[in-house]
Amino acid sequence: MPYTVDARGIRKSFGGKLVLDGVDLAVPTGSIFALLGPNGAGKTTLVRILATLMRPDSGTATVADHDLLADPVGVRRSISLTGQYAAVDDVLTGEENLQMMARLLHLSPRAARARAVELLAEFGLIEARHRRVKSYSGGMRRQLDLAVSMIANPVLLFLDEPTTGLDPRSREQLWGTVRSLADEGVTVLLTTQYLEEADQLADTIAMLDHGRIVAEGTTDQLKSSLGGEVVRLQFADSSGYRRALGSVAAIRADERLCSVEVATDGSAASVHELLGALSAVGAPAARVSVQRPSLADVFLALTESHPADHPAGRPADHPAGHPADHPAGHPADHLAGHPADHLAPVQESIR
């Protein structure tokens, strides 16, 4: 299988702090690849390295058939990077922005005008072409930013948290745009901290945590890596809940709801065994439900091996809480917390 990005052993540290700890990454040509991880996992650093804006301390990579270190100019010609903040000129109109960037990419004035109109149409901005970007919505700015990225027909598009700060409708719209770019054959490497964004868009997902890839695969592969099903147990009171926490390997727990979630292979025998074990420690479950694991479950299982140590820090403890309310050092809090905050229906559909 041909790969547009093939990176081996990428390491990078800033002032003694290791940010990337030997990352291997292979992005199949023509696919959408999501790099999923919490803030501070090293996603942006990895993207900036692969986009030649930063040099790795060690490691090698081939990006779009060019060696990253030996031929950064060749890489730069084949890629386009869209960062977390739309890099467009507020004071100019959408059309002027596109024409300006096209001219800077050395298209002739006539070709720049034609390309601008083409992209305005493709990205749904034709009506807004004569308006200054200052008056655009967040979603329109990202669309324009993407349009600018596509002027030179890059083979690889880096999207660094493309939907951060967008409302759900703009987010859906942007997803549609990214999908149609992939259909045209563009390879997309996107970073996101939203599980359902990775789930919706990506062919392959790599989970990055503390500078390392902790899991990689398709959504289905990742979900089944956890075992077949997640069993959710609810207890009548908090004493039962505490006893249960002490005796099973919970992937998630919620003290307020007195609920504990456990990964199993999904067989009746394993559920039976689990319930038996709980009864034996004096914590009979009041209610039981079984569901397919979500990406959040996978992430929690992979990034936190001792969930019972921090029962108060579980994301579901604060269903209405802002991610910033959670203590630092719980990478999964934001990940799991965000969809519950804003996109509960979407979150449910993952399960």
Binding site: L81, A86, A87, D90, E96, M101
Partner: protein, 259 residues
């Protein structure tokens, strides 16, 4: 990256900066109102009682030109700082373009704004009775002095904008550049200043620039020094500021945009 592309790149950046200037109506209006208001203020309100050896308007025109240029350069510092604090410079840098063209666009737009303001000072000056005695050659020399001065303080302002990064802090450049003319021979001859201020006024860069213009237009300087003497010092100041700022700006720009 051939020279032809450098030219195109700079042209595109100039178009961008000029558009940005024109679309900031408040700043643009202020820049155009300033020369008119200051001229009327100095000639009719302050100038009546100032003994400068002749009509005050004959004395004050060069001073108002540098004052307005100082204001214009402050705008440039803010524009550069605004660019540097937005994501667009990262975008420009990821494209195969000349780094110098980005600052070049700001400098040319600054030159255009300032020359417009200068033309306005001269126009209003003539309207209120300014009668320069200069020959066409002296006019051309004065124009050369203005261009050299505006270029020098525009590069200085761009450097300042790169250095401070935040647009608010860059605004401080406006203050400094508009304050310095008051400590020069712009509005009153050095001999009328307190003894403490006299050495500052005579030796700071604005004075020789002002005196060169004054000498060229009116035939004599206010300091009593020969025109040629003032012109040499002015040229040396402009060249020095230009070279130092250009070097510093280029270095800072590369540093600021390389993460």
């Amino acid at each position: 990256m051939t020279t032809a592309y450098a030219f195109t790149d700079t042209q595109v950046m100039i178009t961008r900066c000029v558009r940005r200037s024109l679309r900031d109506p408040e700043a643009f209006f202020t820049a155009l109102m300033l020369p008119v208001v200051l001229m009327l203020l100095f000639v009719y309100v302050f100038g009546g009682d100032l003994n400068t050896g002749g009509a005050y308007v004959d004395y004050v025109v060069p001073g108002l030109i540098v004052l307005c240029a100082g204001f214009g350069a402050g705008t440039t510092a803010v524009a550069v700082a605004t660019d540097m604090s937005s994501g667009i410079v990262d975008r420009f840098r990821s494209m195969p373009i000349h780094g110098s063209s980005i600052l070049g666009g700001h400098i040319v737009a600054s030159l255009a704004r300032n020359l417009l303001a200068t033309a306005l000072v001269i126009g209003v000056g003539i309207g209120v009775g300014w009668r320069p005695t200069a020959s066409p050659a002296a006019w051309a020399a004065a124009a050369g002095m203005i261009v050299a001065f505006v270029l020098a303080i525009s590069w200085f302002a761009a450097t300042f904008g790169l250095l401070v990064r935040s647009p608010e802090a860059a605004n401080a450049a406006t203050f400094v550049l508009m304050f310095l003319p008051y400590l020069s021979t712009a509005f009153v001859p050095a001999r009328t200043l307190p003894a403490v201020l006299r050495p500052i006024a005579v030796n700071q860069p604005f004075t020789p620039v002002i005196e060169t213009m004054r000498g060229l237009w009116m035939g004599h300087t206010s300091t009593g020094a020969a025109l040629g003497h003032e012109a040499w010092i002015a040229a040396a100041y402009c060249a020095g500021i230009l070279v130092a700022s250009f070097a510093a700006a280029s270095w800072l720009f590369r540093r600021r945009t390389t993460a």
